[in-house]
C-alpha cells in the first residue's frame, strides 16, 4: 500500500507484452467464448485495459478504485461490461476478465521479489489482489446495469408494440389488447385510443380483451376508466372478447360492468357498432338469386 508497491506494479506493467500474452492465455483457458467475442477484439480490450490500468496505478497511490485517478479505468470497465451483457456473457465470465489478470501479475511479483522473503511477497500480493477484486466487483455492477438497461428498453418496445388502434370501418375503431393491463399500460392505451378518436372522428370504439389473460378488479377499473374517458370525448365503447372464465371471475369479484356494453366476441361487437351507425351487413344474395333464376348456379 505504499508508493513502493505501486512502483513495483508499474514496473511489472511496463512489461506489457509479456503480461498481455499470459493474461490472454489465462482467459482463454478459463472462459473461452470464441462464439461471443473474437480473439482480436479480446486482445484489443485487454491491451487497452492494461494501458489505462498502468496509468491509474502510476497516478493513484491507494487501492481505492472509486478515486478520480481510476476514472478512466472505471469508464473502460463500464463499457466492456455493458457490451458483454449485451453479447450474452454471464456475470461470472465478465468478472473473470479482471480476475484472470491475477495469475500473470502474481507470478511476476513472485519472480521479482522472491529473493526478498515471504513477507514482501505477501504485501505485494495483497495490494494487487485488493485492487483487482474491487475492479472485478465493479464489472459485476456495470454488468447488472447493462442488463437493466436492456430490460427497460425491451419493456418500452413491448409497450409501443402492444397498443395498436385499428380502424374497422368509418367511425369504428378497435383496440385489441394483448397482455396484462397495469396502470402504466392503461395510460398509454387510453392516450392512444383518445388520440385516434380525435384523428379519425370515430364515434364507437371496440376494446377487445381476448388477449388479456386475467381480469381482476384493478384491470376492470382500468377498463372502466378508459371507457369513461372515451365517453367524455363523445365516443361509445364496447368491450368484447370476454372469455367464459373471465365472465365468471368478474361476477365473483363483484365488478359492476353494467355501465358498459359487453359482447362475447369481436364479431358481435362489430355488428352492434355497425347497426348503431345505421349500417347492416347483408349476404350478397341478389347475384346468387339471379343465378338460381337463370338456372346457371343452383347449388348456392
Amino acid at each position: 500500500m505504499t508508493t513502493n508497491s505501486a512502483n513495483l506494479l508499474v514496473e511489472i506493467l511496463k512489461d506489457e507484452e509479456l503480461i498481455l500474452r499470459s493474461w490472454i492465455q489465462q482467459q482463454s483457458a478459463a472462459t473461452s467464448r470464441p462464439d461471443l467475442i473474437s480473439e482480436a477484439e479480446l486482445r484489443r480490450q485487454c491491451a487497452e485495459f492494461l494501458k489505462t490500468f498502468r496509468r491509474a496505478v502510476e497516478g493513484g497511490k491507494s487501492e481505492n478504485v472509486e478515486g478520480p485517478a481510476w476514472t478512466p479505468v472505471r469508464e473502460l470497465l463500464a463499457e466492456i461490461s455493458r457490451s458483454r451483457a449485451r453479447q450474452g456473457f454471464t456475470p461470472g465470465e465478465t468478472a473473470t476478465f479482471v480476475l484472470s489478470l491475477k495469475q500473470p501479475l502474481f507470478q511476476e511479483i513472485q519472480r521479482r521479489l522472491g529473493a526478498n522473503g515471504a513477507s514482501a511477497v505477501t504485501d505485494e500480493l495483497w495490494t494487487a489482489t485488493v485492487i483487482l477484486d474491487n475492479l472485478a466487483l465493479l464489472t459485476t455492477e456495470f454488468y447488472q446495469k447493462g442488463r437493466e438497461e436492456l430490460i427497460q428498453r425491451q419493456q418500452r418496445e413491448l409497450l409501443e408494440l402492444s397498443t395498436p388502434v385499428v380502424k374497422l370501418w368509418g367511425g369504428i375503431l378497435a383496440l385489441p389488447l394483448i397482455g396484462t393491463l397495469d396502470s402504466e399500460r392503461t395510460q398509454i392505451v387510453m392516450e392512444s385510443l383518445l388520440e385516434q378518436i380525435v384523428e379519425t372522428g370515430a364515434s364507437i370504439a371496440i376494446i377487445d380483451i381476448t388477449g388479456v389473460p386475467t381480469v381482476d378488479t384493478l384491470v376492470a377499473q382500468h377498463l372502466l376508466k378508459t371507457v369513461a374517458a372515451a365517453g367524455l370525448m363523445g365516443a361509445e365503447c364496447i368491450i368484447s372478447g370476454i372469455r367464459p372464465q373471465i365472465a365468471a371471475t368478474i361476477v365473483h369479484l363483484g365488478v359492476d360492468l353494467s355501465a358498459v356494453v359487453t359482447k362475447a366476441s369481436l364479431a358481435d361487437a362489430f355488428s352492434l357498432a355497425l347497426s348503431r351507425l345505421g349500417h347492416r351487413i347483408q349476404p350478397a344474395q341478389k347475384r346468387s338469386a339471379q343465378g338460381i333464376h337463370d338456372g346457371t348456379d343452383s347449388d348456392t
Partner: protein
C-alpha cells in the same frame, strides 16, 4: 367585464369557450346561459370546450350543473370537443360528468341535438310523452 359569448342558432344556443376558464367567469356563464335559455326558448345547448387545456374539478362540476339547469329549462346540453388530456384528467379525478352528453366535435354535437329535438317533436306530434 370578460364574458363568454352565447350565440343563438335557430333553437340551439352555441357556447364556445375560447379563454381560460376561471371560477368567476364560469359563474357568470352559468347565469348568462340560464337567462338566455329562458329569453330565447332554446331547446338545445352546445358547449364547445375544444380550446380548454385545463378542466379542474370546479369547471367539471360547473359543466354538469349547466347541463342540469338547462334540462330543468327544457334544453338538452351537449359538451363537445373535449381534448384527450382533459378527458383523462377528469376520469382520474373521478369526474365522469354524469348526465352530460358529449360529442367529438361541433358537427356531431349538432347532429345529436337535432336528432334529439326531432324525436321530441315527433313524440309530441304522435301524442307520446316528451322526454
Amino acid at each position: 367585464m370578460e364574458r363568454i359569448p352565447i350565440l343563438k342558432l335557430n333553437d340551439i344556443l352555441l357556447v364556445s369557450i375560447q379563454v381560460d376558464m376561471h371560477d368567476q367567469l364560469a359563474m357568470t356563464l352559468q347565469d348568462d346561459l340560464t337567462e338566455r335559455i329562458v329569453q330565447t326558448g332554446a331547446h338545445g345547448v352546445l358547449v364547445d370546450i375544444s380550446a380548454l387545456d385545463v378542466v379542474d374539478s370546479f369547471i367539471g362540476r360547473m359543466l354538469g350543473n349547466m347541463a342540469l339547469m338547462s334540462r330543468v329549462l327544457d334544453a338538452e346540453t351537449v359538451v363537445v370537443g373535449m381534448r384527450p388530456a382533459v378527458a383523462i384528467t377528469l376520469v382520474e379525478l373521478g369526474l365522469s360528468l354524469p348526465g352530460v352528453r358529449t360529442a367529438l366535435n361541433v358537427d356531431q354535437g349538432m347532429k345529436l341535438l337535432r336528432n334529439g329535438l326531432a324525436r321530441q317533436t315527433r313524440g309530441v306530434r304522435d301524442g307520446r310523452y316528451r322526454r
